[in-house]
Symmetry: D2
Subunit: 251 residues, 4 copies
């Protein structure tokens, strides 16, 4: 069954030309125009992923989850793959996990988590901003992960000792420490994303007797340029996205 | 059903005292001794994770996958969580994926991948060193992930266009580029882990018309000490583990 | 004698407004216009450095050497302060030292070295590109350091066992290793700046029995944003400028 | 005049064997023993720096200032070369400068500054701890820089508008901001070394209308292992020494 690596109408594809890429849905009798060239989307149907377009100017790939998320409509700053990936491993979740997310934002982290808890697990995500929730819903829908996500406003009551892990990305997470503590299972992990060191101290002060802090880290990623006799780190890198704190519920 | 957060006989637990931790299996009528104190393992049975031991000196946690892997018996250098996590997200795998691993080593990456492809997916992992395979098998068994891993020596023939992604961690990966190319699906991702600059160039030279290199990165993680009025990055960090190259199969 | 901290006609000043700065020479009856406002340079004469302009919009500072160098006309990539500073300390030079520089470029490193070897020392700097030398001469002149620099084209014969240290910033430094070895004093230090790892290997291969390599480093600098309750590393940093190799002449 | 690169009795030498080094004073009829071998110091007299010892096991180098400082007796944490070098360039000092140092500590930074302000300049350094001052005096004496340093306890009155720059390395630098402001020349630079984020905020809060903060940075240095086909960053690096704040006196 090779269906999954052939392009059908309605599939998303990623067109790649040099360092630029475009994410689009394949529709019959439609054209797509970039600064490079114009292509007929009909021509893509039935092709295998990994091929070039007929004009030879683009590679056509099946978009990865990262491709989808990086093209998400943004209501807020998104959680970057480097931070999301480590956090998912660090929260000790996987297929079947029930994960609580406080601070849906644009739904980037929601999508990353949803991908790894499917098909039996679920992400229950909350935000106080309805507009963000609407943006996130659309984003998650496009990424094909809606079945694994439940959205909510912060007014809902949470079940106790219920979630396998929690991810918190709000401006004042110390106010939610009690709530998080109650809702996750004993010994399980809560992850907090915070951009400033001041928030770290306030967060730690709020842990007393509820959470055992395991580590706070920042993750840096540096791209390299690899080319014969010219291999070197790239000139620019992101200097800082956020600090990440991981702690375990104690009782 | 709270069973999963109560300790039963036969469960693994992580004892944590300050910055030290011990991973052990709970057995009746047995004692466990550290430089801190001696505890009766029987006393742990029926307790909830997240509690302290009776002498108040340790927290008792359910070991995470990272806890298991960091205590793996090591035949080789292991793949670290920072590198494993980003790679798993970057390979675009998830529950149900079939993943090829070349270079089993101690089984650290094998375990990380297995966790995220279960229950329907599988890691097919190969090594040329039978001793490593034996070590990895034991490690994976302890981590409870054997059902999702198939081990093999490098003599086996691989199915073509079959795997959703490949992870390669061997000394001379350029020799395996053809094999990897054949065995993964069109457009899917191969990830290569390499410690030196030289290997990067040789690898890229072997890609021609087979793989589209997306990025080579190194990931650095820095722990912070958080304490009121004394918050700062920690004094020491790992300077380098490996470079990671991600590329897509083109046809 | 407070002359040195009062502004005279003919002095350079640095105007600073928020994150922007302008380096200019104070001339009577002249105006200077930025996107912020227009100021009469005559008004600055007699003022102390560290004051604001009359319209309150700029601070007026005495330009530092770094200020001068960062505003140098650039024929080539300049050596950045982070790299220059460590190299000067590492070369073990100081007032009175005679320093050889191969690869004048825009004269940035020339200026930094000149500042620290004055008044008795000298930088003898060479480049194969006459255009660069002209640019560098003008830059060094503006920085007020011409007395301590001798310029030359690469055709000159060098004195042997004569220099206290050498700094080499050219594309193929391994071709100059013999020359450098002869010209510096026994046991003294040669510093090499190279952007790619490939150059490092070629350089090390050329050292045999001439130089004892002490270390190769890269220096990263990260700025922080400090503000009450919002202190954090800045979002962007330079990812890579160059590798720096320090070695000692052996005999 | 080749005297300076021949070893005389009474000179310091640095013996280097692989990654180990020893700093010692050459005395007649004395032996020096390491885990590698025993050498007669008399044999070194008259030799050139850069040669090997008679047994071929060590290189004999003239110690650099960094060599001296790294072997200083330590009463406190020292200022590391990476931080010292950038700070000296950033303070805009050089031969002839008068520099104020608050917090002598072990005298590492004192020595680095002294080297670059000689022969006409001076470092006036203060500490509240007499024991540290004694240690620093001995260290500076060994490094041959005593002529350029004046030591003092914190009780002395300072001249106003007198110093070309100030370096402050104490636990509560905000208490000294007024003092520093008065003692340095208008527009000149004060540098502060602080290990924690918290100190940064307190410091910045104390600047109001006295100092214009230019930047706060942290400097990271990473060593590379260079070897044919095995070139890579080294496994371990210092994760953090201190933050450095540079600001200018405003009036």
């Amino acid at each position: 069954m090779l269906e999954e690596w052939r392009i059908n109408e309605g599939n998303y594809v990623l067109l790649v030309h040099k360092n630029k890429s475009w994410l689009l849905k394949v529709k019959k009798d439609q054209k797509f125009q970039t600064h490079v060239s114009t292509i007929n989307l009909s021509d893509l149907i039935g092709k295998e992923y990994g091929q070039r377009t007929q004009d030879g100017l683009y590679y056509v790939f099946k978009p990865t989850l990262i491709d989808h998320v990086m093209k998400f409509e943004r209501g807020t700053q998104i959680v970057y793959p480097k931070d999301a990936a480590y956090t998912i491993l660090r929260m000790n979740i996987g297929p079947g996990s029930r994960v609580l997310e406080l601070g849906t934002g644009s739904g980037a982290m929601t999508a990353f988590i949803a991908n790894f808890v499917r098909p039996e697990g679920v992400v229950q995500t909350f935000d106080v901003n309805e507009e963000y929730i609407e943006i996130a819903k659309k984003n998650i829908e496009k990424a094909g992960l809606s079945k694994y996500v439940k959205f909510g406003l912060f007014t809902e009551k949470l079940e106790e000792n219920y979630y396998d892990a929690a991810f918190v990305d709000v401006g004042d997470p110390w106010k939610l420490v009690d709530l998080v503590w109650k809702s996750i299972k004993p010994g399980s992990i809560a992850a907090f994303l915070l951009p400033t060191y001041n928030q770290l101290e306030k967060l730690y002060n709020s842990f007393e007797k509820k959470f055992y802090p395991e580590e706070t880290v920042e993750i840096m990623i540096r791209r390299l340029q690899v080319a014969e006799n010219r291999t070197r780190p790239q000139n620019f890198i992101a200097g800082h996205t956020a600090f990440l704190t991981y702690c375990r519920k104690i009782i």
